[in-house]
Subunit: 170 residues, 2 copies
Amino acid sequence: MADGRMMAPPSGESLLFLTDEHLRQGIEAMFFAYRGFTADPDRILADMAYGRAHHRAIHFINRAPGTTVNNLLNILGVTKQSLNRVLRTLIADGLVQSRVGRNDKRERHLYLTDEGRALEQKLSDAQRARMRLAFRTAGPEAVAGFRTVLEAMMDPEMRESFERLRESGP
Amino acid sequence: MADGRMMAPPSGESLLFLTDEHLRQGIEAMFFAYRGFTADPDRILADMAYGRAHHRAIHFINRAPGTTVNNLLNILGVTKQSLNRVLRTLIADGLVQSRVGRNDKRERHLYLTDEGRALEQKLSDAQRARMRLAFRTAGPEAVAGFRTVLEAMMDPEMRESFERLRESGP
DNA sequence: CTTGGAATGTCAACAACGCTGACTTAAACT
DNA sequence: AGTTTAAGTCAGCGTTGTTGACATTCCAAG
């Protein structure tokens, strides 16, 4: 089988973590772990009329209150039509509030309502619980490595978004 | 904001990697990294009539040739109707071969054809290239931590599937 | 040998959530 | 005044997930 073929000999220090076999295991680990990552919020959302896209919108509006639609578009990496469909239902259901910009009245600034914040809490509590258990099980050094590899895996623009959110954070 | 609140005081050794803020960063890192993880195969598949579901089926059939439909169902975690739609097109297009089981003739054993293997190569080459760069950038210790955290994040059944694939591997 | 259940496949209908393309409105910039 | 930008909308389409109902095939237990 193609995956079993040998790599070039490791030069100097061990590069065994770069064999096709290790890479394949990394790929499959990503696949299975992401399923777990989304499982808990998905279960909560299944009962409501919402899906993963609503979760993502709510998460990032909570993360950066007052963000514009355009900004959210860039973070989420979807088309405005796709995002708009989600935002429309969230605004209609009273979870998100859209305010016209003060300086630039073309812009809409997005905020969670109390109800929206409540759902965000519920969803992220569930997701954090799993992440917390995984982090606790794995230990600090593993967590640092986890973060390092994930950052290296991002597209450059996504890495910028990620770091912009980090900086504006705590 | 709720995410900024304090945790219980770290007891003894540092548990700072378990603050809500760290957990949130882990969650966002997962989100952005998974986008990168799927970006390259998605680009290749967009030109064809296939999507991510086809990629997953092809990947795991290549990984475990002769696997039954039921086994694949458990690994992928979708309904048989959903998988069947994907398999039907792959079989019709000559990428996958379905053989009736010898012992149990109800079962269908799945294999990639030469053409199927060619596509699998193309897709996993692209995905491995990104993983390889990320692994090389991050270094061996980070990769070990990455794997540890991802495994801890999986649902138990998924972890079993993951490890079963590991064992049958090299 | 018949029957119950398991594995598989298929049809229909539906929902979530991506996409493109075309178009409007309003505001801002030049 | 004319162009560009931000946002919203409508229509339509594709992939991928879901349920529910039903047929077929075949193993295995009574």
